[in-house]
Structure formats: C-alpha cells, structure tokens
Symmetry: C2
Subunit: 186 residues, 2 copies
Amino acid sequence: MAAFIRNIPDGDNRERSVCSDCGFIAYENPKVVVGSVIVERGEVLLCRRAIDPRRGFWTLPAGFLELGETDEEGAAREAWEEAEARIEIDGLLGIFSISRIGQIQLIFRARFAGAAAFAPGSESLEVALFPWNAIPWDTIAFPSVHWALDAWHRIGAGPLGPPARNPANDPRGTGRLERSPEDRPA
Amino acid sequence: MAAFIRNIPDGDNRERSVCSDCGFIAYENPKVVVGSVIVERGEVLLCRRAIDPRRGFWTLPAGFLELGETDEEGAAREAWEEAEARIEIDGLLGIFSISRIGQIQLIFRARFAGAAAFAPGSESLEVALFPWNAIPWDTIAFPSVHWALDAWHRIGAGPLGPPARNPANDPRGTGRLERSPEDRPA
C-alpha cells in the first residue's frame, strides 16, 4: 500500500511528505487565518467557542482562508459563520505571525453592514458586544486575540496606519497563554 | 488501493479531498508568499527567473512561506536564496490577495544589511539593481510585481502607512498579464 515518506525532492532544499508509490509531494505550508474586530458604538463583538481547541473561551470571529476567496471575503464569511454578522471592512488592523502553529493572521477592523444584528453560529456558544472594560480577559482563547484587541484599543475609530505586528515579548509567535487548553471556564 | 475522493466531512461545509481508505482529510488552503522590495540608493533589486513559470522574466525575491518561520524570516530567506542578499526589513509595503491561484502575498520594504552585495541564486538567471525609469516593464513576471513596485514608487523612502492592497482594476486578484507564460523574452 502507498505510504508517505519524508524526502527532499529534486530542486528543493527541505524534507517534504512524498508518496512512496506515485511520487506525489504533499507540500505543507503555513495557513492564513482571517478575522475581524467588529466595532459597534465603541463595543467589540466576541464569540464564545463551541469547539475545541479552547471550547468555552472567547475569541474574535476568525478562521482559515479558503481557496477562491480574498482575505476580506474570508473575514466576512467567518463573521457570518461564527456570529451571523454581516460586516463592512475598514482595513487591516493587525498582521500576526504565529510560527509555533504555522499561521499568518490577518485581522481587519470592521463594522456592521446595517443594523447591529448577530447570533451564535454553529461554532459559537454565545456572541456578545463588550465595552473595553468588560472584556472577559480571564477567558480569552488565544494570545493573538489579546494582540488584536490591544491594537484596536490603541487606535479606536481613528485612521488605520501600519498594521499592528506581534508584540515585543513574542516576536515569533511561540508563546502560549498560561491557562492550559483543558482548563475550561465553567 | 487508497484513493482520494471529494467529500464534505462531518462538521464542515465544503468539499475536501478525503482518503477513501483511512479517512485522512487533505485540507487545501491558500498559501502565503513573502517577498521584498530591496532598495539601495533609490534603486530596486530584481531577479530574472531561471525557473517556470515565467522563466526569463523579472520578479522580486519572493516565495512560499515555510512552516516554522515568521513572515519576515521567510522574506529574508527568499532574498538570500534567490539573490544572495542579506537584508533588513523596514515594514509591510503591500498585502495582495491573488484569489485566482490561492495566494496571499506579503511584500516588505527592505534594505541591504551592510554593503549592497548580491548574486544570482539557483532560481535566478541574473540579479540587478534598477532605477525606477530603467525597470524592464515589458518583461515583469507577475501583476503583483507591478503592484509592489507601484506601492514603492508612491512612498519611496517615506514612512510606511497602511499597506498597499490590490489595485482597483483587480480587487480579487483574478487578472493575468497580457503576455502568455510561453512568450519568453529572448
């Protein structure tokens, strides 16, 4: 039976997964995560995760970019899938490198397209708007959610400049939150 | 023998390639291209491609981000592999969505780390610095090389603001250059 082996293909300089039967090379590269900080009257939309990892923790509507869509289309799709929110995108708020797990995250600043309507999608337990001082900081799902919220807090509704990047204490995106994935909120 | 079939996995909402034998799901997502506009005394470094597609055409040093590296590390690696240039990165010049081929391109503005030393890597036929008015516009490899060069021309050495995005005439990155890939320069 065919099986993947690790091999350096001709003309390449690093090991790939190669099918020992047909020679097919399964390139594995980092993936793009697209998401948004959706702001309504100074409050930000967060979703409580219904799925692992980090079930029960709060996150921004975000997910993997799919083939055939642009980054902004992907962010709008995720806002719909996770929060049933229709959005208009302002521009790029932050671009984060998470080398530990092979991700580039593009986070946009956005607002509702029309009235502020939202509801939990199938991957969310609940969805809510939070003012800055009521954000559930103890139960945020991922470090980059903190980074994006910090970037939003710095500029608010002001003009977007260069996108925020990884913070100085985690330039390569290798850190974890102190809380373990198994330590779920009640 | 095992074979991949197209199927919508449980909990998903689009077709994936699934192994009919073991159920392994081969997710295919867009890839990240990282590259740089390397500037020296107002001139920009271009590489003439030694490989397909677009062999013989000029491009920026750029390529696929690899697992385990940050976007800036990837851009620096590509500058070394394609142009034997050691660089220092200023910041993000442009972020382009090329939905036609499933790419997100992150293009940085950079300069040489130390003296301006460069040479063709294995994927380049030649490497050279060009002032704006001597750029070989008729033999540029890809539309996004035009976009990145335009972005650099607009800001020069000035402060970086929001990164350039796709131009208004190709917001989804679906266009091609008029010249066909087979139409190689002499």
